[in-house]
Symmetry: D2
Subunit: 345 residues, 4 copies
């Protein structure tokens, strides 16, 4: 079978280079072009020596001839790049936030810019395969979800959809530092981030509207979400602990724990990358893989449901999910190129 | 002034050895006796080389002649040790949980043993100086609070006491690994804990009844607390993120953020070890010190109060607070031996 | 093609479970039996949740019917197990040290036991493919090298073989904590190993005779090696910095740097897993892979050659190399199951 | 007693802010002025919240009226600042490298600038109290040693001075990331430095001439030093492992280990901050303190002396040693403000 020609726009961030790592080993594709402004002209494997021996590509300033592209630009710039590619008839998975929110006004409120292409926004599909697999299969443009939203939505979708919890939801997420990107910043400086944990963005993280939008779609009504992200001293991984009051129906039943566990297992029973586990999950058990582990617990004492989920933020939270989307869009096996188990310890 | 003679029962755990570090430099005391079963007969500074040059003590199997003792035994064993010391007329700060809960029945439920001395339980004072300073001053026995409860109660006391929030409270705490102690365990094994975050004890951590008891005292009524502790890959530090719905009074007001901040600042205005800060705190900024940093935030979008607090779990969460209690019990300046600022970075 | 049936004796250590991770994805084999005393009877994927979905195996107490076995027992016990397997006609890669040293007396001196099978020792091949590929291809029993020796011998073999350096050699190695194994120990306790670096085993690490033996074979004469291992706070990775005086021939030449670099590149030019790099290597760039990066530097000021090498201690230093050996012994492509690039960051 | 008024030029780097932490608690001084270009006008405790409650100082752009100053500027800029201060009659400890090398030509070779004040260079004293206590006591300007040189020179001085080793010396040092400073750089970016170890500056680190100069002074003749620094994933700490051949006198003796240990213990017997220990030291055991632990080992097998030393790079390797120098220059007890034991774990 002829391999699909793939390009990565902005390969030099952590999501971009993780895409490259996965694509050089993907059986159905050929990575033929990667761009990156600051490093243009250099060999990819020289800038990123972990790819020594795995690729001979040179970083370019403009994308070459490709059938399919991943765009990993900062928001706003990404939209412009995506528009150009779609116009050229190239299918795109956009890693940025530029096509995740369906309401154009949200971009003004949360990102501070007027969306340049509301009509493309209409066509874009939110790339969470567990919820939108069919739409993704026929999409030209997929908006790859944010890392926090992936962990939170997968944790809560079964509960919201099945009216297990009421609409007041608290999501307390803990992320490794790579989530803050490869751009230098004092908060990602080793001596500042090591031996440190902190909460941030209490006034409203940009991933909040994405979570709210998707949970509302699942539940069929507005949700009242408080989302507090935290930075913990590790490179990869997100753990989200989600809290919501059980609806009266579930509060009163004696075996609600078993029922809810069953609902979760049923919801994800055919999913290759979601595993409903029987003990609180550890981020380490998804490290380097596209897996999401989910654990739901009924706190009978207080009438609450607690759901804990974890992913690798650069995999299921970014590049891995993007490959999964590409697989669906291109007719590959959904797990192609993503079969390697997590690396432990 | 004659120095008070101090002893530490079970110096070889992390709380015990941290007490030793602080006591060898305390201006009003002399550390004269330390015990530790496994290491008895060895020089303290040989087992713990960071104390080289700071102490010549030998670890004993039985406590010598002291005026004041810290007991850092496992629960149940601690109670028996404390009873003996109190009978000998020695004042005690107990680091264990054995005198923290005022209802003897709680020990059966949460710790699986019948309390051996309910009458001593009546006399014991819960050693959170910010709430019980006066009682501590005249106590013979102080029950040093747990690390999680210290961070959670200090975060929530002003809100609960002032009816700012309703009784449904969620506490999501993140702790460094030293909180799990010096006893070997797979969860504290370096390669398992490094690059890993997990939730644990969802079925009920032993610190929960302590939190519930104290918040109920502050608020004058029962509270409905969900408490989920997490392990994050750092040695020291606890960050607690607390969530509760604002009462209607505070939901409706326009300037509730300013009012609540003012209430928090007023509540702790004379406290040497609590600082109400204006940005989400970082555990690193309390590392190695007895400080607690607290930040309260009104999430107007959802009508919730979010309070984030942090401490060093071995200091304000254990040994530092124990010294603070000793200072109050012994008439020293409350900050004696605890003035060193946190170590950064 | 019919898949080879594989077994792992003692799957529950870090080398054993890393073998399992690699074998469940290997195209030419089927992992059919794994043993582990303490965990016998449990599902492998329950004890090690990172393998959830990747295997349905149950841990056994005795190895089932296999064509090929990896033995990852502690030394001395491993030899007995290997003897039984070889007698049954099963090919073996032994991860322990029990067949690495060709002189039986060395086991008494370094490991404190009399070798139970000197005749099998004669047949065993030292499993460093870069040096013994041919012998490995026809071996029934391969002794998988130690992690430190792998990094040191690959770093020094070209220099020793080509008389670039004299026989006085210093090897200063830095290892991640997983090298100390999964067995609980105070030195691997998180709070002790985190934020800590130390040297150990100055009186003679058990990997020293292995290094000495192999460098002597390469150079054709005795070498005088000082080897000091260090523990650094990371999970995976070994970096070895090797120092030796240049022989007069190379000290006097003007372009010895270029010549030596050329010799190194030639030496490893066909090797799939050794890359001679042009800047000091980072362990991170081999993390999770079977790669070894080597950098040689002529310190003209002092007349010394400095060679820095790095590997992932659980991959090229243990399980990865074992798979590489199995591939050679079984006629698979040498890189089968080992093609995934390192994971960065 | 009247307190000495102290200033810090460039308080916003890690050495500068560590000085502030120590000075706010020093019994004999008052920290009255701190400068820092980028942060001028802000409260010191707002930029560095770990000092909340410990200081009310505002960061200035120009130093106020002081009796004594610490200068922690980048090299070359520091010299100019120091010259101004000395002209004003202010005693100075310079944290930079600008007065460490006695030969002005070395600045051109190693730092790329012509020294602006060779006459001041003549007067400056190298601030290693264990070697130059007397000269420091009467100095107006002390050049605070580099972090690597402090660990290496203290490790080797007794051996070099007593002709225990020959002049060929290898120093393999491992440093925590804070040694690279607070200025953002990709090598100090958390996700790059975490789970990573590397060697760097093989072509010649700027601390090399400082080590060579001081060891030559001690030994009375040139030394042939190879120095390779490494970065390991921790915030604080340096471990230096030093290798040199024993002189024939010590190679041949039977009890050279005991003799050499005795020489080391004698050499440092009155030193408050150097401890000759009986087992390989751990950086953790000096963490946060001004201590240096040293261990010497005779490798009889190879005729080499191995000396391992460790310090906290920001304390004995920078700010702590600077305070020690100030104490000597000002007639304070040498340990004033530096008595707190290391923090463990």
């Amino acid at each position: 079978m002829k391999k699909i020609k793939i390009g990565i726009v902005n390969v030099t961030g952590y999501a971009g280079i993780e895409l490259a790592r996965l694509l050089v080993r993907h059986p159905g594709v050929e990575l033929v072009s990667v761009t990156g402004r600051s490093a243009a002209g250099q060999k990819l494997a020289e800038v990123f020596p972990h790819l020594a021996g795995a690729t001979e590509l040179t970083i370019e300033s403009e994308l070459g001839n490709v059938d399919f592209a991943f765009v990993a630009m900062p928001h706003k710039e990404s939209a412009l790049e995506v528009m150009k590619l779609i116009r050229r008839g190239i299918k795109v998975v956009d890693i940025s936030a530029d096509f995740r929110l369906s309401n154009p006004d949200d971009y003004i409120e949360w990102y501070g810019f007027s969306h340049p292409s509301p009509e493309l926004l209409d066509k874009a599909v939110y790339g969470l395969p567990e919820l939108y697999r069919k739409d993704i299969a026929s999409a030209e443009l997929v908006a790859n979800p944010g890392c926090y939203p992936t962990s939170a939505i997968l944790a809560l979708a079964p509960a919201v959809k099945n009216n297990i919890v009421d609409e007041d939801i608290i999501i307390d997420s803990k992320s490794g530092v790579s989530g803050a990107g490869r751009t230098l910043a004092i908060g990602s400086h080793y001596s500042e981030a090591n031996e440190n944990t902190c909460a941030y963005a209490l006034k409203g993280h940009r991933h909040l509207p994405e979570i709210v939008q998707e949970l509302a779609y699942q539940g069929g009504e507005e949700v009242n979400v408080t989302f507090v992200p935290h930075l913990v001293p590790m490179t990869r991984g997100i753990l989200s602990t989600c809290y919501a009051a059980l609806t009266p129906e579930y509060t009163s039943r004696e075996n609600s724990q078993q029922e809810i566990t069953a609902i979760y297992k049923e919801f994800y029973k055919d999913e290759p990358f979601v595993k409903v586990v029987d003990a609180p999950p550890h981020t380490k058990n998804t490290w380097g893989s596209n897996m999401c582990h989910i654990y739901s617990f009924v706190d009978a004492r207080t009438g609450r449901l607690i759901v804990v989920s974890c992913i690798d933020n650069l995999m299921k939270g970014a590049a891995g999910q993007a490959i999964q989307n590409m697989n669906i869009m291109s007719g590959f096996a959904e797990v192609a190129g993503l079969e390697a188990p997590p690396i432990y310890p």
